[in-house]
C-alpha cells in the first residue's frame, strides 16, 4: 500500500535535452544552420555558377537581383548567390576546424592548470589574461605577419594567404578563452567528493581527468566550442575586411571577403552587395550564439536544483 513516493527520475542527459528544446530560438537556429550546412555541403549542386564564373556576357556587373542571378552580381559579373555558398563553405570550414583545435588545446591546458594548481596555474592564467586583454585584432594582425615570416614554420602553416594558415593562426590564439572556461569548471569539480573518492581508491591523476573531470565538463566545453566557432568566423571576416584574409587564387572567396566588399558597395549604393553577405554573416553568428546560449542554460549545474 505504498503511495507514489518520489517524483519520477529523469537522467541528467534527458533533463539537459528538455531544457535545450524549450529554448525556441535555439531550436530554430539548429534548423536554420542545418539547412545552411546542407546547402553548403552540396555546393556543386546547389550553387548555380562556378565561383569565378560570369553570369552572362558584359554588361554584367553590379546587376541587381534577377532571374539568372538570384542575389545580383558583383563588380565583374559573378553571381553573388553562388559565391555566397562557396564563401560560406570556406568560412565554416575555418570556423569549425579552428574551433575544434582551440577547444582541444584549451581543454588540455585548462584542466592541467586547474588540476596542478600552484606556479603553473598562476603563470598560465597571467599569460592568458594579458593576451585576452590585448586588442584581439592587433594581436591577430601582428602574429599573422610574424608567423608568416618564420620560414621554418611553413610546412605546418602553409602559405600566408591560405586557409590552412588562418586555421592554425586562430587555433594558436583561440585556446585561451576555452582554457579559462575549462579551468574554472575543473576547479569547481576538483573539490567535489566523488573526486576525493576516486583519489582514495588510487586513481591516477590522468585517469581522473579523463574519466571524471572531462565528462562532467561536457556542458561548458560544448558552450566554449560554439563560441570558439563563432569567434573564428567573425575574426576571419574581420581579417578579410582589412584585406588580410584567406586569398586562394582563382577568385575563391570567403564570407569575410564578401562582407568586406560591402564597404565599397555602400559608397556606390549597390545595396545587394552589402545586404546579403552581411545578413548571412549575422544569421550564422546569431544561430550559433543562440545554440551556445541554450546549451549553457541546459547544462548549468545550478539549474539542476529544480525538478
Amino acid at each position: 500500500m505504498v503511495d507514489e513516493i518520489t517524483l519520477p527520475t529523469i537522467s541528467p542527459r534527458r533533463m539537459a535535452y528538455n531544457r535545450f528544446v524549450s529554448h525556441k530560438a535555439a531550436v530554430v537556429s539548429v534548423f536554420v544552420l542545418g539547412i545552411l550546412v546542407m546547402f553548403v555541403a552540396l555546393s556543386p549542386f546547389t550553387a548555380r555558377y562556378g565561383v569565378n564564373e560570369a553570369v552572362q556576357a558584359p554588361p554584367n556587373y553590379f546587376l541587381s537581383p534577377r532571374a539568372n542571378a538570384w542575389l545580383g552580381t558583383d563588380d565583374i559579373g559573378r553571381d553573388l548567390y553562388s559565391r555566397l555558398i562557396y564563401g560560406v563553405r570556406v568560412s565554416l570550414v575555418i570556423g569549425i576546424f579552428s574551433g575544434l583545435i582551440s577547444v582541444a588545446i584549451g581543454c588540455v591546458i585548462g584542466s592541467v592548470a586547474a588540476f596542478r594548481g600552484g606556479r603553473f596555474d598562476d603563470v598560465i592564467m597571467r599569460v592568458t589574461d594579458l593576451f585576452l586583454a590585448f586588442p584581439f585584432l592587433v594581436t591577430l594582425l601582428v602574429m599573422r605577419n610574424m608567423i608568416g615570416g618564420i620560414s621554418w614554420l611553413k610546412p605546418i602553416t602553409g602559405e600566408l594567404n591560405s586557409v590552412r594558415f588562418i586555421i592554425v593562426l586562430f587555433a594558436i590564439f583561440g585556446w585561451m578563452g576555452v582554457a579559462r572556461i575549462v579551468r574554472g569548471q575543473v576547479l569547481a569539480l576538483k573539490e567535489r567528493e566523488f573526486i576525493e573518492a576516486a583519489r582514495a581508491v588510487g586513481a591516477s591523476r590522468w585517469y581522473i581527468v579523463r574519466r571524471h573531470l572531462l565528462p562532467n565538463s561536457i556542458g561548458p566545453i560544448m558552450v566554449a566550442l560554439t563560441f570558439s566557432v563563432v569567434s573564428a568566423i567573425i575574426s576571419e571576416s574581420t581579417l578579410a575586411f582589412f584585406g588580410y584574409g584567406p586569398q586562394a587564387g582563382d577568385g575563391a572567396t570567403s564570407l569575410g571577403i564578401l562582407v568586406g566588399q560591402a564597404k565599397g558597395a555602400v559608397n556606390t549604393g549597390f545595396w545587394h552587395l552589402a545586404l546579403f553577405p552581411c545578413l548571412t554573416l549575422v544569421v550564422i553568428a546569431l544561430s550559433i550564439n543562440f545554440i551556445g546560449d541554450a546549451l549553457r542554460d541546459a547544462t548549468d549545474p545550478r539549474m539542476q536544483k529544480e525538478a
Partner: protein, 324 residues
C-alpha cells in the same frame, strides 16, 4: 593592499619591458622594417639606411637591438616615421586624443544604459521585458561592429541624403575637410554615428553581464535576510542587491576601458575616424616601425595598468578577496 599595489607596480616595469621585447621581435619578423624603409624611400643612400637601422635599434642581434631602441625610447629620442621623416609624437598624440574622446563617450553612454537595462531585466526574470532585453542584447552581440557600422553608414549617408537631400549625421572624419580650429558642435555631430555603433555593442554586453550578476545575487540567502529586517525594498535592492552584483561587472569594465585604446580599429576604419585604429592600420600596412613601436608601448602600458586597476577594484569592493 598598499604593499600589493607597490609590488604590482614594481613588477609592471619588467613586464612592460618583456612584452615590448616580444612585440619588437614580432614586428621585426613580421613587417621587415628595413625592407619597408627601402620601399618607401627607394632613393635612400646607404648612409641613410644605416642611420635608420641604428636609430631604430635594428641590429642583427635582437637583444642588443632592443636595448638600443629602448634607450632611445626612454630618453624620448624617438626616431621619425619612414614617410617623409615626420615626427611621431604629434601624430600619436592626436590619434590618442581622438580615440579617447570616442571611447569615453561610447563607454559612458553604453555602460550606463547597459547596466540600467540589465537591472530592468533582472527584476522580473522570465517576464516580457526580460525576454525583450535579452534578445535585443543577444542580437547586438551577434552583429559584428563593422556590419552595424556599414549598415548605419548606408542608412545615414547614402539613403538619408537620397531621401531627405542632406546628411543628418556625417559619416567620416572628425571635422569636415578643411575645418580649422576647434568647433564643439561639429565635433559632436561627427562623433554621433561612431559613438552609437560602439555603444550598441557595449550596451548589449553589459546588460547581459548585469542581468546575470544581479540574478545570481537576488537568489542569495542574504537577500532574504535583508528583507527579513524590514528595511525598504529600495534599500534591499541597492545596498544588498546592486552593491554585490556590481562587483564582477566593475572588474570587467575596468579591463574593457583599458582595451579602448586599441579596440576601436574597425569602427574607426569604417567611419574614417582618425584615431589610434587608423594610425595603426596605416603604419602596419606600410611597415612603419618608428610609428608602430610607440603605439605598441602605449597599448601594452594601458593594458597592464587597467588590469592592475581591475584587480585592485575587485579587492576593494569584495572584502573576501585577500590580495597576494
Amino acid at each position: 593592499m598598499l604593499r600589493y599595489v607597490l609590488r604590482r607596480l614594481a613588477w609592471a616595469i619588467p613586464t612592460l619591458v618583456f612584452v615590448t621585447f616580444l612585440v619588437y621581435i614580432a614586428l621585426r619578423i613580421g613587417t621587415d622594417p628595413v625592407a619597408s624603409y627601402k620601399r618607401i624611400n627607394p632613393r635612400a643612400t646607404k648612409a641613410k639606411i644605416a642611420q635608420y637601422i641604428e636609430v631604430n635599434g635594428l641590429d642583427p642581434n635582437y637583444v642588443r637591438g632592443y636595448f638600443r631602441w629602448l634607450g632611445n625610447f626612454v630618453t624620448l629620442d624617438w626616431p621619425r616615421s619612414i614617410k617623409g621623416s615626420r615626427e611621431v609624437w604629434p601624430q600619436l598624440k592626436d590619434a590618442l586624443a581622438n580615440t579617447i574622446r570616442l571611447g569615453v563617450a561610447a563607454s559612458s553612454v553604453g555602460i550606463v544604459i547597459g547596466l540600467g537595462l540589465g537591472v530592468f531585466a533582472a527584476l522580473r526574470p522570465g517576464g516580457r521585458r526580460d525576454v525583450a532585453v535579452n534578445t535585443a542584447a543577444f542580437v547586438g552581440i551577434s552583429i559584428p561592429p563593422y556590419v552595424s557600422a556599414i549598415l548605419f553608414q548606408l542608412l545615414f549617408a547614402v539613403y538619408w541624403s537620397r531621401w531627405f537631400g542632406s546628411t543628418l549625421f556625417p559619416t567620416s572624419g572628425v571635422y569636415p575637410p578643411g575645418q580649422m580650429g576647434f568647433d564643439l558642435g561639429l565635433m559632436i555631430k561627427h562623433m554621433v554615428l561612431p559613438t552609437f555603433v560602439v555603444a550598441i555593442q557595449i550596451i548589449a554586453v553589459y546588460s547581459r553581464y548585469m542581468r546575470s550578476s544581479l540574478l545570481d545575487v537576488l537568489s542569495s540567502e542574504y537577500m532574504r535576510t535583508a528583507r527579513s529586517k524590514g528595511i525598504s525594498e529600495a534599500r534591499v535592492l541597492f545596498r544588498h542587491g546592486l552593491r554585490n552584483a556590481l562587483i564582477p561587472v566593475v572588474t570587467i569594465a575596468a579591463i574593457d576601458v583599458g582595451a579602448i585604446v586599441g579596440g576601436l580599429i574597425i569602427t574607426e576604419n569604417v567611419f574614417s575616424y582618425p584615431g589610434m585604429g587608423k594610425y595603426f592600420l596605416s603604419a602596419f600596412g606600410e611597415g612603419d616601425f618608428p610609428l608602430l613601436m610607440p603605439w605598441m608601448v602605449l597599448i601594452v602600458a594601458s593594458t597592464l595598468f587597467f588590469n592592475l586597476l581591475a584587480d585592485i577594484s575587485y579587492a576593494w569592493l569584495d572584502p573576501r578577496i585577500r590580495l597576494g
